[in-house]
Symmetry: C2
Subunit: 576 residues, 2 copies
């Protein structure tokens, strides 16, 4: 392709974007922002997106069949699963104006995911045990009512998605398929050039299950996720679910000091409190009161410096939903205003969940359950009985240990490139989709879902592979195989030579972006090539004689090659 | 592909659908309806759709560059062109529930077409005369707030669309490109197998221009459009714009009879009136009163048996919009209740537009402009002056002549497969998008738009190519090149032979759908093959010995071929 004819050339503006992918993809002419969260893929960007999607498609074809569901569907499907009224990223389509309303006043769901559509679809076609297991997938635009969209292609209101759904006659069969899908996913990421740095992490199973779901995370300094890695067991946990044991606090053995109640009105946060009391933060205690969906009031506490992980708390408290208790409830339970709750003298009928980080401390602080007061030098066994059981209800932080192995986690930043969920019977039950077994009986169907976001991956690849000059595409997804630069093009012999090389490369099925601009300086052409990031740059000029200058984007040294040497080189790199 | 593993097999249900494409595409397992107007493309259907889109893509690449714009865009763009408040097929996306509203309470347009998005996109990148002309296209899902969706894939609420937009520095350049686009479109339709029956017809230019737009219409008995063809000039007109001259009415020369006013209360329509008065319908006159957007009241009349074409009337009356006058206005103008308006004794200041079909009649009828009365035996020159000018303001009907040539039209049913519009400066002006010419001055940009609906075409191909047994795909868009049927598969030697043929065909890059089901009867397999409509059917059974039975879907005779003969045959048919 001739660069002079390309729509969407590089931009020289000095505009600041919030991420590397937003910067380089926009300055390089790959994408153009229509509004926060939606982009046009320009010619270069669409080529990258298509290559990513083709790799995903080829691998998904080994475990499923491609279909294409509509984005616009009836509201009824979503009401059946109870998600129409509750999913906060859900959008609906309505008539835009009074004329439209007069013409057809119906509302539809604009799907952010397709469980509600694929389940009844499968149900219309497959009922017999003979036809299981099977899996359907699609690659398609999804819509999400995102409040904060940021980081270029990483989080959008409309984005590309590959979603696969599998159907099984038993949990065992689902799990076998689920394991196989992991291998296929890892193959995809390998082919996309991010395999080396992509790991599987355990993540929340959502509201469907207490099981983990599995995320594919690409380690990346600018990643928005945090992974906790236990080297001894070789397991990565997403921060949101990482089990954690707080490291012991080591102080000099001062013995038990006499309990004191200290007035400290309006002190906010454990940092301020520790300073006020002149004790380490680790000696403070954070106590929160919650109300559950089954109308219980519970108390939860963690060591100062930690936060409560509501997901973990929900599980140990065996409830479906939690919210912070109202001021009235707090007053009723603790006898104090909000801000002075502690673990002392609580009513007998209140369930108390203490994180294990509370344990093994001498002379610690807790709210006094008395307005404006904090109690210090508290000790289990003296000031309150030591509970028979401690829990893990905290958000993990750096320095924590894996409770199973006692090994300190390594902590990594990462970006999610895929997520797979065992859905079990959540959706098939909602649609009353059951199969007829060999014995003629109706039985439940098990389901899994498996997502990869191609547009998001395009952004992550740029986050991962760039330098201060621009992008460095892995060759499998590069918009072109080589970037051919012609210099001194007003010299007819050079112009003819570079035209000839362009022709030969194309005849050899090499995808070439040919910078044929006559009025652009060599410096600008090189800068554009670095910004666009095609893996191989070729230069032909007065200086290169009868050779062609060859340079890889990721390296600094160049060499002069004959056309035959060049073709061999390109073949050996498997560049197209 | 193994038919036994295919998701979306043929359906035996006796459900009635409203069209051939809805019937065969659903029974054949190509598509599945999610709701009226939105479908899932199943594996077979998606293969057809992809082939159609790939042909379109390859041809569009010769005149434009592919990009991909979002469907979800800001409302502001549509307000700039004034279309947000008026376009009645426009939908917007809004939060689906209270949680979503709390998260992000913004509304967006869900685009049915992309002029409002592509114009500012082009403006952000191309301003210099050097970079014109250029054209961008995309293939994408569009959304339309359709009140009545019907006929399978022919009219949907979400559908596939290829839309191309071209930008030019002069009207001449736009027109050159526009003519070139017609050739490219005709190549597309030829490759899709509908070239022979696809014609270009003149159609309405919409609200942008008094010029015609151009439709590509595939002649088809079940088509929803009507074309008027003048063989002498070789021009097809869409009925909505066909200029028309009514054929002369030949009666015996009875001379002028005395005028009579006849009481005929509550007679509805010219048919009933003609019967009541015992005259031919052609002697009646249909008179309507309109109000215009510039506050005029006008009278329009056509010969009984015709309807008024408001588009034509709008043009001769030189106004932008028309609506039927209120009863009050009718009373004021005619002195009578609605239903008795005529062309006699109208106020002097009222503009009257008489269709040419009114002329050349003796003793005709007209409303008496007197409640309950009709005047008969009216003659120009005696009862009212003959107007100096007659117009063409009627909807053409069979039997009409092309006014330019005097030749009677041939009338055809057809389905629209493409539509191209010269948009001129309508959108570029709305966005103040101008280019900088060689002389440094800002000048207007001319624009064209060019649509083809791939999913609609899939439906039209089925409407065009089917028989009572099912679909007969053109080979360029068939989901597979050959349909291989194995019979007697419980016989291991047959099973092994057919497996071998399947392998050899795949090795020769032939796309094969292999019906490998062991428990299905030969009759059902043949019926499925006819329904699915792949151009070539191969059968291997006990009877075929060491040969393979070869039959084309469109023919009834079969022949026995060796594998080598078969491969040659397939090569010669260019089937893949």
């Amino acid at each position: 392709m001739l660069y002079s004819k390309l729509f969407g050339k590089t931009k020289k503006d000095s505009k600041k974007y919030d991420s590397a992918n937003a910067t380089y993809l926009q300055k390089g002419g790959f994408i153009d922002q229509v509004m926060a969260g939606t982009y046009t893929y320009l010619t270069l960007g669409l080529r990258v997106l298509n290559k990513i999607e083709q790799i995903i498609r080829e691998e998904m074809d080994t475990i499923g069949q491609e279909v294409l569901m509509p984005a616009l569907t009836p509201i009824g499907n979503w009401q059946k699963t109870g998600r129409f009224e509750t999913v906060d990223i859900l959008m609906k389509a309505t008539p835009a104006n009074i004329f439209a309303k007069a013409k057809n006043d119906t509302e539809y769901v604009l799907n952010p995911t397709h469980e509600e559509i694929v389940t009844p679809l499968a149900q219309r076609f497959v009922l017999s045990y003979k036809d299981f297991p099977f899996a359907l997938y699609q690659i398609q635009n999804k819509f999400r009512n995102e409040p904060r969209v940021k980081s270029g292609l990483l989080r959008g209101r409309e984005f590309r998605m590959k979603d696969l759904y599998s159907f099984h006659t038993s949990e065992t069969n689902l799990k076998e398929y689920y394991e196989k899908s992991k291998e296929v996913y890892l193959r995809v990421f390998k082919r996309l050039g991010i395999g080396k740095d992509t790991v599987i992490s355990l993540a929340s199973g959502g509201s469907f299950t207490d099981d983990y779901s599995h995320e594919f995370q690409t380690l990346c300094e600018t990643g928005e996720d945090t992974l906790y890695y236990d080297k001894s067991s070789n397991i990565y946990f997403n921060k949101e679910v990482a089990p954690s044991k707080a490291p012991n606090v080591n102080y000099k053995d001062e013995g038990m000091l006499p309990r004191k109640d200290v007035e400290g009105k309006g002190i906010i946060g454990v940092g301020e409190l520790a300073e006020f009391l002149n004790i380490p933060v680790e000696k403070t205690t954070k106590t929160l009161i919650f109300e559950t969906d089954d109308n219980r009031v519970i108390v939860a506490a963690v060591r100062g410096g930690y936060d409560i992980n509501e997901d973990k708390l929900r599980k140990v408290a065996k409830c479906k939903a939690l919210k912070l208790a109202s001021a009235t409830t707090v007053k009723k339970v603790t006898g104090a205003e909000v801000g002075y709750a502690g673990i002392l003298n609580l009513p007998k009928d209140i369930e108390i969940f203490l994180d294990e980080s509370i344990d093994n401390r001498l002379n610690f602080e807790t709210g006094a359950n008395k307005t404006h007061f904090h109690s210090t030098n508290i000790n289990f066994g003296r000031d309150l009985p030591k509970p028979s059981k401690f829990y893990d209800i905290k958000v993990a932080k750096a320095g924590d240990l894996d409770p199973k192995t006692g090994v300190e986690y390594q902590v990594f930043k990462a970006s999610e490139v895929g997520n797979i969920f065992p859905l079990y019977t959540k959706f098939t039950e909602a649609f009353n989709y059951r199969f007829i077994d060999r014995d003629g009986k109706e039985k439940p169907i098990y389901m899994g879902c498996y997502g990869i976001g191609p547009s998001r991956i395009m952004g992550i690849i740029v986050e991962k592979f760039h330098d201060e000059k621009g992008i460095i595409w892995p060759s499998s997804v590069s918009p072109f195989g080589v970037h051919l630069i012609g210099l001194d093009l007003r010299d007819e012999s050079i112009k003819s030579k570079v035209g000839q090389v362009y022709k030969v490369l194309k005849e050899n099925n090499v995808e070439v972006l040919f910078d044929d601009r006559e009025e652009t300086t060599a410096g600008n052409k090189f800068a554009d090539a670095d910004l666009i990031g095609i893996p191989v740059r070729l230069v032909i000029s007065k200086r290169t004689g009868d050779k062609i200058e060859y340079k890889q984007r990721k390296e600094s040294k160049s060499e002069l090659l004959s056309i035959d040497q060049l073709l061999l080189k390109i073949k050996s790199l498997k560049i197209q």
